[in-house]
């Protein structure tokens, strides 16, 4: 992980299904400052399209995502 993606908060949503990861992410993004990064981990196979859609709808920037060993990781930058 590059230093500029240092997450201010890490949210573990592994083992949780829709809609819980998106609900938890929506709450957690408010716990970081504007401009800071929230990193979320999930195993729900629907998470990549869902979290991309969440980013589009809320405007919080999806800076990076990766899939490693069945765990999806998303880095969101709070924009407002």
């Amino acid at each position: 992980m590059s230093t500029e993606l240092q997450a201010a908060k890490v949210l573990d949503c592994k083992g949780l299904l829709c809609p819980i990861p998106v609900v938890k992410t929506a709450k957690a993004i408010k716990e970081v400052d504007v401009g800071q990064i929230l990193m979320m981990e999930a195993t729900d196979p629907g998470a990549p399209p869902d979290m991309e859609a969440w980013s589009r709808q809320t405007g919080h920037e999806l800076v990076k995502q990766e899939n490693a060993d069945g765990v999806f990781r998303f880095w969101f930058r709070r924009t407002s």
Partner: protein, 187 residues
């Protein structure tokens, strides 16, 4: 000035500025959802859609009508059941056991309680929240629940039985709300 500011027929530059500043905020998207069913398997999708939309930052209004009124009826929403009769889609009750319950067995005493128990178990095993927790999540996220006035009359539901924060309205008022919605769903 003060008089004019409160009179919609007259506006002064100061009040126009205030309204312009209010309008500058982006309008939130709105989901208008009609919930007409009161069985556990039919209220989950309602609350999942509602909580998701709220998590997207949308405004959400749910019109609870007919059996869907049970969602906001605190005397009844702790006892929601899954119908065992007339539900051919019911999956095998045990994972890995290729035995599907014939729908005719739904008439047996206790079948409905068993179907409800199995659904709750599947949800729990999948780390899904219980109905009541999902309802609380929706309320925390600001989802608006509306009780259908006609249903309350037809089914003799006391307004005192509603959970807190539910407003009672008719189809006309909800359609007025839905007319401004970006997404409308009927469950």
């Amino acid at each position: 000035m003060t008089l004019h500011a409160t009179d919609p027929g007259h506006t002064d530059p100061a009040s126009q500025e205030v309204s312009a500043a209010t309008e500058a905020e982006p309008k939130r998207k709105r989901l208008a959802l009609v919930a007409s069913k009161g069985s556990l398997d039919m209220v989950y999708p309602v609350l999942m859609m509602a909580s998701t939309a709220a998590a997207l930052g949308w405004e959400v209004g749910i019109f609870c009508t007919f059996y869907g009124l049970d969602i906001v009826n605190k005397k009844r929403n702790k006892h929601l059941q899954v119908a065992a009769i007339g539900n051919p889609a019911s999956p095998p009750p045990f994972k890995g056991v290729p035995f599907k319950v014939p729908p005719i067995l739904g008439v047996l005493p206790g079948a409905q309680a068993a179907a409800t128990t199995f659904m709750k178990k599947w949800m729990r095993d999948s780390n899904m929240p219980e109905f009541q927790d999902l309802l609380d999540t929706c309320r925390e996220l600001g989802v608006n629940f509306y009780a259908c006035a006609t249903t309350m009359g037809v089914m003799s539901v006391d307004p005192e039985d509603m959970i807190d924060g539910v407003s009672c309205l008719g189809a006309t008022a909800f359609l007025d709300y839905a007319a401004e919605a970006d997404v409308c769903l009927f469950v």
